[in-house]
Symmetry: C2
Subunit: 186 residues, 2 copies
């Protein structure tokens, strides 16, 4: 019979912790995926209404969705009615505070500099996005083409950024808009 | 008697045009001054209400004021209720369009990156501002410290920028806020 040494026990513990960590990461990724898909679905539902660009956002706190937003620039006749701004408005109302620390925002497309700065003002901790500003500039939107990473670096912002998350699903949303809407840009 | 040559006539014309240009510039500067003072007055009237930061904006088209805005972040419990955003909302309603081309925005303080980008989206042609982002960061506001000139350059934006306009009057507004309000920052 093999004698189990202290070293064996330590090694076993390390492996078990690693499996546990990977399992937690898996379930977190699955949750992140669900949040992004919620943002996509929220836009798709209204795509034929031509209310604005094909962009959605979802704000979460822990594993709970606090708000959903979609671009309604044309419907509201308001150049600031972007998905992220609408989601921030709804989240501050729901949580009854302007400080959204510890919240995460999922954006189907990389937030434009207006929205990145609004996210900074709201003290949201993390941005997770799919397609990037370049992708939608090509569709004809009057984008100020400055990446979130550049803004974070220049402004010395503590915001965490995760790019290219569920990129294929977010690209499919842009294609869905091209097929099913009047493709009105601004 | 001195004979007036063609050259004399041309020189006289040049001088007359120069005097006329200077006179037009003088009256334009006076008008610009009035627009900035309107933005300052709009903030001062409400300074004791503690509705938000001591920042005002005025949007003009030609020599006509289209809208006034002031920061109401705390009153509205909305981190995006900056003076410029509020002024853009009001201007789009007044002009019944999202495109504010040929408009000028006067900001008592350099627009933050959120507002600069909103101004870009609204296609406002010119920004005229007094104090700068650094001045108000020192007061305790959670500014993303990126200048308008940097954003213009990086984003390749056509917006014209005039800095330090009526700077003393705009500095006096910040001091007025320090004396007469609860100095609540966010």
């Amino acid at each position: 019979m093999k004698i189990i040494t202290t070293e064996d026990r330590l090694n076993k513990e390390i492996v078990l912790n690693l499996v546990l960590d990977l399992s937690i990461m898996d379930s977190m990724n699955e949750l992140n995926r669900e949040h992004m898909l919620s943002a996509i679905d929220h836009v798709k539902k209204h795509i034929c209404d031509n209310d604005g660009g094909p962009f959605g956002a979802c704000i979460t706190l822990g594993d709970k969705i606090i708000s959903l937003g979609r671009n309604t620039v044309l419907k509201d006749m308001d150049p600031t009615s972007h998905a992220e701004i609408n989601a921030i408005h709804a989240a501050t109302k729901t949580l009854n505070r302007i400080d959204l620390s510890n919240c995460t925002i999922y954006s189907t497309t990389e937030p434009c500099p207006m929205c990145f700065s609004a996210i900074h003002w709201a003290r949201i901790s993390q941005i997770v996005y799919g397609t990037n500003i370049d992708d939608v500039k090509k569709l004809g939107f009057h984008e100020l083409d400055i990446s979130n990473e550049t803004l974070k670096k220049l402004g010395n912002s503590p915001i965490k950024i995760s790019a290219n998350f569920e990129r294929e699903a977010c690209e499919a949303l842009l294609q869905y808009w091209q097929i099913n809407s009047g493709q009105q840009t601004y």
